[in-house]
Amino acid sequence: MNAAIEFAGVSKVYKRIFSEERVEALHDVSFSVPPGEVCAFLGPNGAGKTTSIGILMGFLFPNSGEVRVLGHEPGDVRAKAQIGFLPENFAFYRFLTGPKLLSLHLALSGRKVSDPFSLIAALLAQVKLSGYESLRISKYSRGMVQRLGVAQALIGDPQLLVFDEPTSGLDPAGRKEVLDLVHALKQAGKTVFLSSHILPEVEQICDRVVIIDRGRLVRAGRLDEILGRSAKVEIVVDQVSEEAAQALAERGAQIDRSGDGVVRVLVESAAKRETAEMLWASGSDVVRLNPLHNSLEGVFLNLVGGGK
């Protein structure tokens, strides 16, 4: 099956007219996103995410490489007819009301619906903007604008959604709503390509991750492949005697007594059974045994060096 998004050796250099100054925004970036997946596009500020999304949407042109979106060139109206896009810091015609803006975007999307008013009302309800139909966008809060942006992205019933920082400006409840929406879109078989800085939330919903840093691809692949399996296990016990602690230290285990009334013993996965039995034998009560996972945030910080 064709990929929904395909970048092959894409490079982009910004040049100033009448100047020798060159900024390499992207260098030989290649990745692909299969249809029906949620792909998180990650990178520190200035990594080239917005440039990549600009190229994907046909706003910018790469200096080299090839990009295909839903089997077409970026900017091709056949591709754009199937894309819903939410730019970062979405700008609207501020004198319009929410329903009028959605009506404009429905007309521009070319989608034919028998009852546009019902569709618009349903979308406004979906993003919790019902009751504000007569309010001009200039009076909206940042969160309301962002939710309206999500609604306009959905109005053409797109196959591919490109969200640039969709949870920006939203409160925790709003962020959860957007993430639930992304999850629902995934269930409906849509492809979602989203950039975000809120990694723990992204980790909950994405299937695939693309990480770039300073214009170069750092890692791309399925989330489970990227996170991998940690080789460590955490054994939570009620207490550890001094003798047992000494024996554990000799075996290379780490002991953390900072927990609230419990002690955490971190050991290699291969030694978990032996360690747990030794703790039982020394009089400790084993409360939990947790296999440790890498977090997306941890992997991201390792790969991009904490953004430094």
């Binding site: 600009g54 949407m57 046909g58 706003f59 910018l60 042109f61 900017g75 109206v77 056949r78 754009k80 007819a81 894309i83 896009f85 730019p87 810091n89 979405f90 700008a91 609207f92 015609y93 004198f95 404009l104 975007h105 007309a107 521009l108 999307s109 070319g110 942006g149 306009q152 053409g156 490109v162």
Partner: protein, 266 residues
């Protein structure tokens, strides 16, 4: 449907544009300012009514030229700003993410400018009739020429500005159109100025720049006579076709330069 929506949102946006509102306010102010001497001349008790009449007619002619010139400025500025404002605010990102081709976007913007200019021309015609009536003159003409000629002229200036703004800043594009228009007036055979320009260059510029004579109301309407000069319809057709052709060429150039323009927020 897409073009209509783009044209309509462009047209509606103009009425939220502070500069355009200021432009209309200045326009109204100037008209009111010129009404004062007009009314003074009219109420003047004199032994020489022919002389007063001549002053009134000359004042009317001046107002007519000014209103018409204002329109050219408005058309150029509105066209340049219509595209540039979308780039400045970032609204272009949401619009161009839709299945809208780049030339369709430009055409939508251009049609929005034409809608604004139609309102202006309607307003201008009304002002001219009212002023002529106040001055005791009668404009013996078909209203269509008073509408179509300026519309074609403004379409031409709007197209040039649309082209310019696809590769330069809106203020610069506006200035270039102003210079372009001033040069066109200078090199026109009817103009007394520009004699210092070498003949070959003058002739070249005359062919390249939009003709100031052909689309001017003065070619068919004389306020002094307050009547339409008799001209065969083929002459009207040629003049209008010239203007539309020039506008089309400029628009096509705009579409060509805009097709590879980066659409990042400015």
């Amino acid at each position: 449907m897409k073009l209509r929506s783009l044209a309509w949102i462009t047209f509606v946006s103009f009425f939220r544009n502070k500069l355009i509102i200021l432009f209309f306010a200045v326009f109204l102010g100037v008209i009111l300012l010129f009404m004062t001497p007009l009314l003074t001349f009219k109420s003047m008790a004199t032994d020489n009514p022919a002389q007063v009449q001549a002053m009134i007619v000359s004042m009317l002619s001046l107002i007519s030229s000014m209103v018409s010139g204002f329109g050219s400025l408005l058309a150029a500025w509105a066209a340049a700003d219509a595209v540039a404002a979308e780039m400045r605010s970032g609204t272009i990102m949401a619009v161009m993410a839709r299945p809208v081709r780049r030339w369709e976007f430009l055409l939508g913007k251009y049609l929005g400018v034409e809608m604004l200019m139609l309102v202006y021309v309607a307003f201008m015609v009304i002002v001219m009739y009212v002023l002529a009536w106040i001055a005791g003159q009668r404009l013996v003409t078909n209203p269509w020429v008073l509408v179509v000629y300026p519309m074609v002229r403004y379409s031409l200036y709007a197209a040039i500005a649309t082209w310019m703004v696809t590769f330069m800043h809106s203020i610069l594009a506006f200035v270039v159109v102003l210079i372009w228009s001033a040069l066109a007036n200078l090199v026109s055979p009817g103009s007394g100025g520009g004699r210092w320009i070498p003949e070959a260059l003058r002739r070249g510029l005359y062919y390249v720049l939009p003709s100031a004579d052909l689309l001017s109301e003065s070619s068919f309407l004389s306020i002094t006579a307050a009547a339409l000069k008799q001209r065969p319809w083929t002459e009207h057709l040629t003049a209008l076709a010239y203007g539309l052709d020039y506008a089309l060429v400029c628009f096509l150039l705009a579409a060509w330069t805009f097709r590879r323009r980066s659409l990042a927020r400015e």
